[in-house]
């Protein structure tokens, strides 16, 4: 087969359990132009270079041929999909209640609470012979955490999960026409945004210590506050990003460790390795497999000129397996030195929530590892979620 159908094959659901051979094909092809005109890139050095190239836009409005209708144009976009200087302004505002320089201790202070939630979830599973790692643990943990952090009632989960599913589906990378998906995504986005703004409004003047309270009550001396629309898109972004990704990291962690009993054993003996093991998971089985970008000028990548405005799909998960950067890249090695993976991206869009995701995954796996001694996978490979960009198991049944 030729490289111009790679995106089709990668996004083909049949290949979800193991896209890695396709990524190897992509790296061998270098820059792979697809039949729909987009470009697929998969080597570590190209991808890192592009993520640091100021001529590469994350803004879908930079696309010369818009996806679906042109309705994206008038939209308020979250900073995930904006370029500097707007990106910087909004990310900085969103960072104020979450991280340094204004709130450096916020995530660190959540460790105790995350550990408590973890223990509660695990206690409820006591005595069960079989569990679904996704539904019973890896999903509820980050959802509960992000709800408390933002100030969203946990009981509303079914409500925002439905919106989130539609939005995430609309943002998936797939070849071909997307009008219908894009329209549905916009509808869900508007509803979810309104829901979150309503929650924030209820906290105006009565802050409850969460981030929605902080956003709505931030004093505004010099344009330091999000407008209503900015608050809506930012809160939607945080709620979705905060719970659609970490679930995959924890689930992939369990899956990978059960596939590598020697490494599971090693982590049981050397728990200090856990932080590095989590980084290795982010390299080896990253929750986010690809991101889309658009050049603002014609750019040369590895000898190919990619014309201005052409969609480029950067396959982060392929970069993470590039043998030109990582020795023995298909080996899961929790003690891997020099692990500069791109599981959280790189450059200005590097994941905003990465520290939270790391703390969650470390606490979750630290608590799980001692209990995985007798566990075994019921189904390998497990059933995957449909999404190719946010790739992870839909269920992960294990037996004790």
């Amino acid at each position: 087969m030729t490289a111009d159908t790679l995106l089709e094959r990668i996004t083909d659901y049949a290949n979800r359990p193991n896209p890695y051979p396709l990524y190897a094909e992509l790296r061998a092809a270098g820059v792979a132009r697809q039949t729909d005109g987009s470009y697929l890139l998969g080597t570590y050095h190209d991808i890192v270079a592009l993520l640091h190239d100021p001529r590469i836009s994350a803004d879908p409005r930079s696309r010369s041929v818009p996806r679906g209708d042109r309705s994206e144009e008038g939209l308020h976009l979250p900073f995930l999909r904006l370029d500097d200087p707007e990106h910087h302004r909004l990310r900085t505002l969103a960072m104020r209640p979450f991280g340094p320089p204004h709130s450096p201790g916020r995530v660190d202070a959540m460790r105790g609470e995350i550990a408590r939630i973890t223990e509660e979830l695990l206690e409820a599973l006591q005595g069960r012979k079989q569990i679904d790692v996704v539904d019973d643990f890896a999903y509820p943990l980050p959802v509960t955490v992000i709800c408390r952090l933002l100030g969203v009632p946990r009981e509303d989960e079914p409500l925002f999960r439905a919106w989130s599913d539609v939005i995430v589906d609309s943002a998936d990378v797939r070849p071909g026409e997307a009008t219908e998906r894009v329209r549905a995504g916009q509808q869900a986005h508007a509803e979810m945004g309104q829901y979150l703004v309503d929650l924030a409004e209820r906290r105006r003047g009565q802050p409850t210590g969460d981030m929605l309270s902080a956003f709505i009550n931030e004093p505004d001396p010099a344009g330091q506050r999000l407008t209503g629309e900015e608050l809506a898109v930012t809160a939607v972004l945080l709620l979705i990003a905060g719970h659609e990704t970490t679930v995959n990291l924890i689930t992939n962690g369990v899956l990978t460790l059960l596939r590598h009993p020697d490494q599971l054993d090693r982590l049981r003996r050397e728990p200090d390795l856990l932080p590095r093991a989590v980084e290795e998971l982010l390299r080896y089985e990253p929750p986010v497999h690809m991101r889309e970008r658009f050049p603002l000028a014609d750019v040369d990548v590895a000898g190919t000129t990619i014309p201005k405005g052409t969609p480029m799909v950067l396959v982060l998960a392929s970069a993470n397996r590039d043998p030109k950067r990582f020795r023995d890249p298909d080996r899961f090695d929790p003690a891997r030195p020099d692990n500069e993976h791109v599981g959280f991206g790189s450059g200005i869009h590097l994941c905003y929530g990465a520290p939270l995701a790391r703390v969650e995954a470390q606490i979750a796996l630290r608590a799980l590892i001692p209990r995985l001694g007798t566990a075994r996978l019921v189904q390998d490979p497990p059933p995957y979620r449909r999404n190719a960009m946010l790739r992870g198991p839909r269920h992960l049944p294990i037996e004790f």
Binding site: T92, P100, P101, P104, G105, R106, P275, L350
Partner: protein
Amino acid sequence: MRIVVDLTRCQGYAQCVFLAPEVFELHGEDALLYDPAVPDDQLDRVRQAAAACPVQAILVGEEVSAGAR
């Protein structure tokens, strides 16, 4: 334990500040400051920070002093 950050490589991602806020600090929006002498009770956090640094700029190690006499 001592640390040194290769600020030539550091790109100001602040992952270390989130994970070990008593040792690392952002000075302004982009400049990193840190305490080179890590207190014992921060060692765990500093190891997490070193593992998390996207450009692997943090070196954690023993100082030479013991052998340098």
